[in-house]
Amino acid sequence: MLAACGLASADELFSQIPAEARLQRPLALADGISEYEIVDYFKSLAAQNANGYASFLGAGVYNHYRPVVVDTVVSRGEFLTSYTPYQSEISQGTLMTIFEFQTMVCQLTGMDVANASMYDGSTAIPEAAMMAERITGRHKALVARSAHPEYREVLATYARNQGMQIEEFGFDRATGQIDFADLESRLDKGTACVIIQSPNFFGIVEDAKKAAAMAHAAGALLVFTFTEAASLGILEPPRDADIVAGELQSFAISPSYGGPFAGIMAAKEKYVRQLPGRLVGESKDSEGNRAFCLTLATREQHIRREKATSNICTNQALIALMATVYMELYGKRGLRELAEQNLAKAHYLGSKVKPLFSGPYFNEFAAVPAKPVEEINAQLLEKKIIGGLPLAKFYPELGNAVLLCATEMTKRADMDTLAEVMA
């Protein structure tokens, strides 16, 4: 092949790189190792992580059972090793799964249109806020302090450089729900959107209808976010929101130390041209057969460049496919039963460990243990239980409180043990 290229040696391939820019030594990385050694290495690393522990951690990342079928589907090379479906004639498989994903996201959230996915819930929030800015021409976003702290941090990073103003409004210390008086006092003619999460970071269900009415009265949009998608199996969807930006990790996406997950972005029909990211639409081919393709690309960076609605390109297609398979397997009845089981487990735990807030909760809640939470969690670790998330890191005002989560995977015996240790 070198000869066909008119070259005498492989080094000549790089003659266009000036000598001073070339690396004049081998990379200081070890030689390659065999498949067996790689497996062995990663197993040894995995052994240094938690193994065989029961866990009460939620806080945006949930332990739900992952049906075997999900991995069977996403391991098919035709899904795993294909590119973004720009060439629709040979990408109909991926395109149709995304179309189904978009449909089910709409059905779950009560929205009219949904995109093909975002990186995750946290990055979907600033995208939603920027979208609200474009729609309203206003530059202030009000975000609930009860929304996920890391989501709020990501929003702050994006906002800082864009002239977007971010203000937080508080929560009621008795119910754990939005402090509506505080929200109302901050709404003004500069407010582009109000961002709320439900169930909120403390697991408490919010009154999205009331938040929407308040936002709309001020000419602002309501951006609704969620981290626990399983709650939508039973909770009324945020039909009054304008934009929904959330996280589907609960749907067959393993916690994987925080990613990759699948964010969603959905909205009312009239805002479709302001949506960021990829969209799949239904059409026909030249023989009149149903066919799908990427569409409305004039919103996107590869066409619009600096005027695009977002810079997003690669998203989370394969992870969104996991969620799609999961939603289809569980279906209408399964998601309901799943939500009911989560509700039952968490409320069993709530009957043993008193929740801090009085608001209605889905599958997690804050509680205050009798002893310092660090002490409690250390004691639990000895019993092979990872306790809840200490809240002081994100909410110093909540002192010794801890966030506890129970899902369909949580065993009654472990909840009993937790309750004993926390008492």
Binding site: L29, F42, L232, L318
Partner: protein
């Protein structure tokens, strides 16, 4: 002559909603070991939905058949060469998939105690170190989720560093050959964009650049090798021009597959760059993600990296949140960890020498294609290329056949098309990146297909204009799709 494929049966399949019938289920849940709870009582009747309207109800085997049938409608690297330029569609080793699924890694919760996360943190630490060595830069953050997200992170770092000096400046320079994400990123980071023209060799025009760089310029975003597959040989000079005016140089690492083990951006003046783990480091594209977009920086940008930073203590790894200069978080938690595991497995499998060999093969493959196809397609920038080569449809356009038609005809020959009509500085571009994955046999098949298509342009151009002919779905009406969008089933 079409040698790679022939037709076979393709199963029909409807949307899952059309297969649904009430009462069917595909899931199992264990019996509850706690008392059931009345939802209306626990949550308030107004908060409880009646049902998820329209959601499917199907059995497990229907789900399996549904997705298996759909999967057969896709092309994939597993079926053959996928020569998309600037996308680096290389083989995705299955060992990567296996190790990412090891329970202690896949089921690690991001908030579990650090003492029970040391293995996960070691993956992050080791990958950061490897990427520092590969890029010749001093520090790496793995938090960004994809290339464009890495670009944003990188530009925010530039901005933070300039702000610390007293003035974030106003403009980002972007060559006209750049990926669309570059200008879009600059916009989102609060900068205006100024285009830099390419010279007649397809490279940054250094004199033009020198004239543009003033005290308002924050950085130049440059892809190297650029989107023509050409190494910007004046890159060190460009860096000097920028640095002399207090500006920085951002490198889009989308084409890093041409450089690993051969040249390091840190050695030719780059201040900050992103890497695409889903390109250079073999993690699967998955139909459009997930990706990984690590950002590597020179020492002077390190204080601004996103929080938290991994810190090596005496006998353990720890997360350091106390970083007052940080731009903050760009994503919840620590990044796409599962993608990092796969990338590290790839690096370990190759080792230093193997990584360099991959680069050599990738560049050789692209040059081989250039030499074999140059008599049949116009080469607007006729010079040695790196990992990809860009032709134009000039000769074929004279017969009324455009790059998009050639691409669609290539599908009939059993290949995924190349990147069509990009970069924008080449009229009717055919952008071809074979990667190191392809053997000479597969390359020759591809070359034969391209030559055969070039002959068809002369003999039967209509065949191309209606292509593809062999797919189950013929050319899709994208115009109607955009004019009357149907974005969900109803």
């Amino acid at each position: 002559m079409i040698r790679k494929v022939r037709q076979h049966l393709s199963q029909n399949e409807s949307l899952i909603f059309e297969r649904s019938s009430p009462g069917k289920i595909g899931y199992q849940l264990p019996d509850l070991d706690v008392p059931a709870v009345d939802a209306a009582a626990a949550l308030g009747a107004a908060s409880v939905r009646a049902e998820i309207e329209g959601f499917p109800e199907v059995s497990e085997v229907e789900v399996i058949r549904h997705f298996t049938r759909l999967s057969t409608w896709n092309y994939a690297i597993d079926l053959g060469m996928y020569p998309l330029g600037s996308c680096t569609m290389k083989y995705n080793p299955r060992i990567n998939e296996a190790v990412a699924r090891i329970e202690g890694l896949a089921w690690a919760h991001p908030y579990q105690p650090e003492s029970l996360s040391q293995g996960a943190m070691e993956v992050i630490g080791r990958l950061e170190a490897a990427l520092c060595e590969i890029t010749g830069l001093d520090a790496v953050t793995l938090q960004p989720a994809a290339g464009a997200h890495g670009e944003l992170t990188g530009i925010l770092l530039v901005r933070a560093a300039l702000e610390a000096r007293g003035n974030p400046r106003k403009k980002i320079l972007v060559p006209d050959s750049a990926h669309g994400t570059n200008p879009a990123t600059a916009g989102i980071a609060g900068y205006s964009v100024q285009n830099v023209a390419s010279n007649d060799q397809g490279m940054i025009d250094i004199e033009h650049l020198a004239g543009l760089v003033d005290d308002d310029v924050a950085a130049l975003m440059v892809t190297n090798p650029n989107t023509l597959g050409v190494f910007e040989s004046n890159i060190a000079q460009a860096a000097e021009i920028l640095h002399s005016k207090g500006a920085m140089i951002y490198m889009d690492g989308a084409n890093m597959n041409a450089l690993v083990g051969v040249a390091r951006p840190g050695d030719f003046g780059v201040d900050v760059m992103h890497i695409n783990l889903h390109k250079t480091f073999s993690t699967p594209h998955g139909g459009g993600g997930p990706g990984g977009g690590p950002v590597a920086v020179a020492k002077h940008l390190e204080p601004y990296l996103p929080v938290p930073r991994l810190k090596r203590m005496k006998d353990a790894l720890a997360w350091d949140f106390d970083r007052p200069g940080s731009i903050g978080k760009v994503k919840a938690f620590y990044g796409n960890f599962g993608v990092m595991v796969r990338a590290l497995a790839y690096i370990l499998a190759h080792g230093g020498p193997g990584l360099r060999n991959a680069t050599v093969d990738a560049v050789l493959n692209a040059n081989y294609i250039r030499h074999k196809l140059r008599d049949f397609f116009d080469l607007p920038y006729d010079r040695p290329n790196m990992h990809e080569v860009v032709f134009s449809d000039d000769r074929q356009a004279a017969k009324g056949v455009r790059t998009g038609d050639i691409a669609k005809r290539l599908i009939d020959y059993g290949f995924h098309p190349y990147t069509v009509s990009f970069p924008l500085i080449v009229h009717g571009a055919l952008m071809i990146e074979p990667t190191e994955t392809e053997s000479k046999d597969e390359l020759d098949l591809f070359i034969d297909a391209m030559i055969s298509i070039a002959k068809e342009v002369d003999e039967q151009p209509e065949t191309l204009k209606n292509a593809p002919h062999m797919t189950r779905t013929r050319r899709v009406d994208e115009v109607t799709a955009a004019r009357k969008p149907i974005l969900r089933w109803k």
